[in-house]
Amino acid sequence: MNGGDVTSSSAATSGPPPSLDWRFSQVFGERTAGEEVQEVDIISAIEFDKSGDHLATGDRGGRVVLFERTDTRDHGGSRRDLEQTDYAVRHPEFRYKTEFQSHEPEFDYLKSLEIEEKINKIRWCQPANGALFLLSTNDKTIKYWKVQEKKIKKISEMNIDPSKAESSSSPPQLVANGLPADKAHGYLSNDFSFPPGGIPSLRLPVVTSQETNLVARCRRVYAHAHDYHINSISNSSDGETFISADDLRVNLWNLEISNQSFNIVDVKPTNMEDLTEVITSAEFHPIHCNMLAYSSSKGSIRLIDMRQSALCDSHTKLFEEPEAPGSRSFFTEIIASISDIKFSKDGRYILSRDYMTLKLWDINMDSGPVASYQVHEHLRPRLCDLYENDSIFDKFECCLSGDGLRVATGSYSNLFRVFGASQGSTEAATLEASKNPMRRQIQTPARPSRSIGSMTRVVRRGSESPGTEANGNAYDFTTKLLHMAWHPTENSIACAAANSLYMYYA
């Protein structure tokens, strides 16, 4: 493998880090040729936990699947040995851990609405006592799950032989707690005197089996707090609260209290006809428990400080890019809508994704993004088609690498793009969610640009790529890569292509 060149080039001191060489790592639920994708199997959420040792996916069928990392802690021997012997195998590898049904389809009889079971978001919470905790949500209801290994108990040494107790006529008519139905409490009342040394013939049940299995238990259900569809959940750094956001409101919850929440943002106008903007995504600051950001359908990001007031209708900072003069069209507002925002790990930057671009914002600079990355610029001539087939409303997620040096987001034809975010980096890779990610890679280096439209990046279509037509209709709008996540500490990406989970490393 050419792992060696990574180390050598990183030795070169200043300047942006070198472009990454992405390689296929794993796939779960790979589609065989001609296999039809079941709607319920389509992945709708992906999330790594804080340590990066676990990965969770949610699907449209309301299931949550957990994966655990196999490569780190299981290896014997010191880290250094491993690095020396085989650099290349030291990338995250995951195995299936367990799955559970998180949400079921429901029907809201009051509003005559069907509530889909589709998992909209998953967020990991603080692990405790070796158990994993996570929040999952569909359109209306958030659930708090505990996944834990439980011993399968096998009980022996009973006082009463279960078979005899049921078959024999004496003692008859057992009710709960073994009390004979007729004299239920007589025997055990306080006047029944036990000999001082106890009764030697009684024995405690003995649990023998040490086998364990994973059990997921729903610990809390946070329901009935959202009139509109929940688009995000995010936990606070204080470890006890989280927010949930729907189209018009953001609510604050305590993890331990499921029957009340506080409304902290409400953008609902008194008259719904005045509605011009909805909340599309919200996230807590990774370090400061009082700060959170939410994005809107008009392309703005608002940072709010919960210290200022109980109902945070006025933002602390507004991040918005001024509209380029003369560029306004019917689609301007639609494509400006932000589909996802993410804070960088240190909380300094916010990454946002709108239909055409990825933008990186410094929270200390609200005049404009520090960088914009063209993702769909080549689709600009075709916005009309995209509007007609509703693709223009697709909500692509975005993610940052743990070191904040790179950003990534999805696109059509199961492609995703990775950009270098550090100063002066020209890294821009297009990869395909398949076993051969590099077959669509473009060689043209790209510079992050401040003005949209100055750079038009065309994906160079290799001749091997199927579906290429003479008129350039290579993009398949039905296969879109909406959900992806970056490993918190390593260069590893998990992304969802329909029902398959692909993992890549560099």
Binding site: Q126, L174, A176, G178, L188, I199, L202
Partner: protein, 588 residues
């Protein structure tokens, strides 16, 4: 498999069900753990049952909660105080589960046991347990540890005490905000056990760190500690160490922190003493009353009376009263409502003249508030202000407010005002009441909402108690009895309800002469509901009236009802007849 003698059978099953698949059965068994322990004897309880329970900590939360509670009173079953330490291991493992309520119950039980343990056992087993929890890998254990330091600390050797203090200080700096929060909220409790020399040197350092924590949620809890710590310190130390922190907190960036200060300020004033209250805390309090955030103003407004009580009237008039005036026209109805619920209490503090000059305009404007809760809160405390300025001044504004509330769209508002009518009546006096409120009381009896009608009937009873039977005879009874011909059966039923409530107050004579004929007439109603309510009413009248009346009138009426075609009417009539026979039998 052992077979058990029949007398032991229930206890044997109880033991087996500790591991039943059905959680309800496991829960039942755990709830009767003391029975199991007695059946096993002390020695086997120590050697078998307790270790068995220690292994059981992966059970459902409900079971664990019950177990934590039972173990707290388990000392007698393991052989008394000298064996109390055997109970620690199962509780220790319960202190590490992630469910808060289980941990808290386990901590309660640990504190109970720890406070009874002999000192040597405390050092040998309790202190190591605290140290193990404090060094726990998962945050749940460390959170728990914070709650039992105060038990471990007492009766420790000096070396151990030093170690415990430094361990606590580590917990105050834990990585996890949950642990720091637990350390902050338990600091006051721990401080009560710490010697005063270390209080300033060490505890206050921990406190200072916590008050500067990055996490809002930690600083919040540190505020709560201010008052508790302040009471432990000498006044001059308190002024030097606590006061600057409070003043700082009252200007914190986070409204939640300021909210906590507003809620706690009264206790904090007690801790720092009157002088500093005047110089430092009054300005802080005034700031809070004028805070940007409504939640903070609500908390501050709710304490205005308590706070003024600490000051002399001049200071209150000079500093607090201007704020109160502003708050009475605050943009938030909740602020006004909080103010309305306490402002009446300021009248006795300020005295008559100041009240009339300064407070009366505020009362009056709150009485005209557009928000019903505000008006209700004022009316509910009317007695307090009446003592100071007399009702005449108030009554002009009072009456329109009452009438408006009495006809409010929301039945809960109407209900609330009805409940204050007896209070109003006693304050306003008979004359005022007759003129203005009498008609309202009757009107409520015909309200569309049952709860209001019910409360109205009850109100009549309380008025009769307040003004006496003769007054009621004149002003209430005729109007009520008129309603018996109302075409609506629900209203006729209200007459019966009012009679049943008023009869005991009015006494035997009026009951026989006025009520009974009406009731007997009602027994011929065409609606069965009325008829069986007559039967129930007659039953309740039996103890009030003479035996002769019972025999002559009531019995006959009930006998007629007991032959009614409606099954329910017959049932209640027979019940009433039985109770007549019962009392007669008892008397004879």
């Amino acid at each position: 498999m052992a077979m058990v003698d029949e007398p032991l059978y229930p206890i044997a099953v109880l033991i087996d069900e500790l591991k039943n698949d059905d959680i309800q059965l496991r829960l039942n068994s755990i709830r009767r753990l003391s029975t199991i322990a007695r059946a096993l004897g002390e020695e086997r309880t120590r050697k078998e049952l307790i270790p068995f329970l220690s292994e059981n900590s992966d059970d459902d939360d409900e079971v664990l909660l019950a177990m934590a509670e039972e173990l707290g009173v388990f000392i007698p079953f393991v052989g008394g105080i000298e064996y109390a330490h055997v109970l620690l291991p199962p509780l220790e493992s319960l202190c590490t589960v992630e469910e808060t309520c289980v941990r808290e119950k386990a901590l309660d039980s640990l504190c109970k046991i720890g406070s009874q343990m002999r000192e040597t056992d405390l050092v040998d087993s309790f202190v190591p347990l605290v140290k193990r929890l404090a060094a726990g890998e998962w945050f749940a254990a460390r959170v728990s540890a914070c709650g039992i330091f105060h038990v471990a600390y007492q009766g420790c050797t000096d070396v151990l005490k030093t170690e415990l203090r430094s361990t606590y200080s580590l917990l105050c700096q834990d990585d996890m905000p949950m642990v720091r929060r637990a350390a902050a909220s338990n600091l006051g409790k721990f401080a009560t056990t710490v010697e005063s020399t270390y209080l300033i040197a060490e505890i206050m350092t921990m406190f200072d760190d916590l008050t500067k924590d990055d996490q809002d949620s930690v600083r919040l809890l540190a505020v709560e500690g201010c008052a508790a710590l302040g009471k432990l310190l000498e006044p001059q130390d308190c002024v030097a160490r606590i006061l600057p922190v409070i003043v700082n907190f009252s200007q914190d960036k986070s409204w939640r922190v300021r909210y906590m200060v507003a809620n706690q300020l009264y206790e904090l004033c007690e801790a720092v003493g009157p002088d500093c209250t005047k110089t430092d805390l009054v300005p802080a309090y005034v700031r809070l009353l004028r805070d940007n955030e409504a939640e903070v103003r609500i908390a501050a407004a709710g304490k205005v009376t308590k706070f003024c009580r600490l000051l002399n009237p001049e200071l209150a008039i000079q500093h607090i009263l201007p704020c109160v005036k502003e708050l009475s026209s605050d943009s938030s109805q909740h602020v006004r409502s909080a103010l309305a619920s306490v402002i009446m209490g300021m009248a006795p503090i300020l005295g008559k003249d100041s009240t009339i000059e300064h407070l009366l305009p505020i009362f009056l404007s709150l009485l005209k508030d557009e928000f019903p809760d505000v008006r209700l809160n004022i009316i509910s405390k009317l007695d307090q202000v009446n003592q100071v300025i007399g009702i005449d001044l108030l009554s002009q504004s009072l009456l329109p407010a009452i009438v408006e509330l009495a006809e409010d769209r929301h039945w809960r508002v109407r209900l609330a005002i009805i409940e204050y009518v007896p209070l109003l009546a006693s304050q306003l006096g008979i004359g005022f009441f007759d003129d203005k409120l009498g008609a309202l009381c009757m009107q409520w009896l015909q309200d569309k909402v049952y709860s209001i009608r019910e409360a109205a009937a009850n109100n009549l009873k309380r008025l009769a108690e307040e003004f006496g039977p003769e007054w009621a005879m004149q002003h209430l009874v005729p109007q009520v009895l008129d309603m018996v011909n109302n075409p609506h059966y629900l209203h006729r039923m209200m007459v019966l309800r009012a009679i049943s409530l008023m009869a005991p107050v009015m006494g035997s004579e009026i009951t026989c002469s006025k009520f009974l004929p009406v009731v007997v007439e009602a027994s011929k109603d065409r609606v069965p509901n009325i008829k069986f309510n007559v039967a129930k009413l007659l039953q309740s009248l039996i103890p009030i009236v003479d035996q002769s009346v019972v025999d002559k009138t009531i019995r006959q009426c009930l006998v007629d009802l007991s032959e009614d075609p409606d099954v329910d009417v017959r049932y209640f009539a027979n019940q009433a007849l039985n109770s007549i026979d019962g009392t007669t039998a008892a008397q004879s």
